[in-house]
Symmetry: C2
Subunit: 414 residues, 2 copies
């Protein structure tokens, strides 16, 4: 097999941990596999470097910042290659410009355009472990770029795609993706297998262990991703193409987001173009709007409710007052907002073939006397906004109600 | 003018010092010059990185060490570029692989083969200050290489040669090259102009302020080098092609080396091939022999004396005992050695046209009752080995005797 292993900053956070990584790489190689390793900067290093740039410039040039922060991964690949050699293996490091990880020129948030896998394949064919710098690339002109926070996961999956690897193993400090956050729900279960689509919808769970862009890339190229702990040999969570078996599991996981606020615009004229007029100034100011719900008009007017990141709530209201006073009132008289909300969601590809998931979800919340303020649905997800004080209660009720604390085989239907 | 400025690790050792460097670059640019800047790693950074490698491996692979230590200069160029931008200038950083500083593949001690000046010229033409990483390059295969300690000076002069710059300014923490070490001789004078050849012979003085390889490169390409202080605007020392004026100054400087030992091999047969037989095993073990003096044979035998770095003296004797017992005796009976020596030298291109420098030197030493143990001469240098306890006295006597405490114009002949 050809195995790509990606180790995050915590996994390579010290000389001792790098030695552990080296041992694991070598153990995999000794099983007869070809091994390519993608590593992040040592934990804390990227922040240290960013801090240096900010001491010099309050708004540092992105091209130069990328030159600086990309050294974190450069040091890591050299050190991990040395650790593998010290442990008796053969290893060779690769930087973004050496295995031609070509990106666009969006410094600090570049997207991968192509990878030349040949130098890495040559090293693997020579019996070497290839140690590849995550997070970095070069644009067409040879400028160094970085992929944005968490970009090393994306590098890992992209390298796996370029090499047509059998698996991309993402090593992290937790042992997989759970049916919900185990800190909120002690009987949360580790998910053994999950589809790319579900993983994307479980972003709020997955973001802690797996960068969402890497899941999209895995889905596009069909790379099986195995999220697992760098501290044990236990199987973690496999993120894979949808399988027929998966439909039997109606709900794969329950998520909660507590970092959004709700904004309600009342008494809007029920005419065409109103929503566009309202959201255009927010988009221009880069405020990302999440749920948008508009009710049936009544008396020629309608209400429109949406959620934004909590930190953007005040700014969003100010922008609306300044941009569309005709819609929301000069002093925003027709705007209300609420920070005390939470969004609970249930996710599962099985929803496509199982009616009644929404009904069950609403029933489970009603059983706890939790009022639903907003509802939005996608093909494999149902989200409800509720009062924030009920967030944990709601998650537990949904998690247990959908049987997620049981092994998949023991879960009954709805 | 096109000015290349090179700043060492101390000059970029902190955020504040980088800001000073940025100001100086901008001041030069505002005088109407095009400016390319070569920078070292922040002081201490290279050692920090080397220490990391040694924690992992007692004999770390040179290719990977170069990947790691080259990040020091990479961080510096990004930060200096940011500092220049913050101060209101335009700047762009260049790494070894971006301005194609191609070297051979001798990791950790690579030699520059070629430089593609075009990307830098393009930046200069666009009104940008080019900030170039010292010390690093890439080999033909794109592997990162480093030039060895002090390699940033060499990068500076090589960049100046590639750009056909008018001057390469080497900024350091002293204000130039002196007629002798000012710590030994308080009335030592800063040298205003010196030839490449003299500078090379003054290595033991110059090494503290200017890497010898960079002088060789300057000589080969005719790059005027200006060694000056990064803490003042005063003129420093210009290292330039030999000028007719220089011949008037018979002696440019006096040096002393106190870190060598003398080894004497007595009663060697006066036959051909003896010297070769003696030095071959030393060369094989990488012991560098400096002065070699052999006297006229007498009674069919001869004595041969040479100097080696003091730290290699014991090893050298052991090697000779083991390799050529027929020449030196199985227990080295015919070897003597002496650590308590010093080598004083006078250097000057004027020697070529002025007879009698040697005579004056010997006379000056004799005046102080200093016995000369060994003498060796080159075209522009005379070296004498003396007892180490007389080293400082000898340097002062020579320095004053050749009038070096006076301005060049006031020095009389011999």
């Amino acid at each position: 097999m050809l195995v790509v292993q990606k180790y995050g900053g915590t996994s390579v956070g010290s000389i001792e941990r790098m030695q552990k990584v080296a041992e694991r790489c070598l153990a995999t190689a000794r099983q007869g596999h070809q091994v390519a390793v993608v590593v992040s900067a040592m934990s804390g290093e990227t922040n240290r470097l960013l801090d240096l740039t900010r001491q010099l410039h309050d708004d540092p040039n992105d091209r130069e910042v990328d030159v600086i922060v990309s050294t974190g991964e450069q040091v890591s690949v050299g050190l991990v290659a040395l650790a593998i050699r010290k442990a008796g293996g053969k290893a060779r490091s690769f930087l973004g410009h050496q295995c031609k990880i070509v990106t666009d020129s969006s410094f600090a948030r570049a997207r991968i355009v192509s990878i030349d896998g040949q130098p890495i394949r040559d090293a693997l064919a020579a019996g070497e472990i290839a140690v590849i710098a995550g997070f970095q690339g070069v644009d067409e002109s040879g400028n160094i770029t970085t992929l944005g926070r968490g970009g090393s996961d994306t590098t890992g999956v992209a390298i796996a795609a370029a090499l047509k690897a059998d698996v991309c193993e993402i090593y992290t400090d937790v042992d997989g993706v759970y049916t919900t956050d185990p800190r909120d729900v002690p009987n949360a279960r580790k998910i053994d297998r999950i589809s790319y689509e579900e993983m994307l919808e479980l972003a709020s769970l997955g973001a802690k262990v797996l960068q969402i862009r890497s899941v999209e890339m895995g889905m596009r190229h069909g790379v099986p991703i195995h999220v697992r702990s760098s501290f044990s040999d236990a199987q973690g969570t496999w993120v894979v193409p949808e399988e027929t078996d998966m439909e039997k599991v109606v709900v794969a996981g329950v998520t909660v987001a507590k970092d959004e606020s709700k904004i309600i615009c009342e008494d809007l004229p029920d005419t065409s173009g109103v929503a566009g007029k309202l959201f255009a100034p927010l988009a221009e100011q880069n405020i990302s709007v999440d749920m948008i719900v508009q009710n049936q008009a009544y008396d020629g007017t309608t209400d429109l409710t949406f959620t934004v990141p909590r930190g953007d709530r005040k700014r969003a209201v100010d922008i609306l007052k300044a941009s569309v006073p005709d819609l929301v009132g000069k002093n925003g008289e027709r705007i209300q907002s609420d920070d005390e909300i939470a969004k609970v969601s249930v996710v599962g590809v099985g929803m496509r073939s199982h009616a009644g998931v929404a009904k069950t979800m609403f029933q489970l919340l009603a059983n706890e006397n939790i009022n639903i303020q907003l509802i939005s649905t996608s093909e494999i997800k149902i989200s409800c906004v509720i009062a924030r004080k009920y967030a944990e209660l709601a998650v537990r009720a949904l998690h247990d109600g959908f049987g997620l604390s049981l092994p998949p085989s023991e879960r009954t239907g709805l």
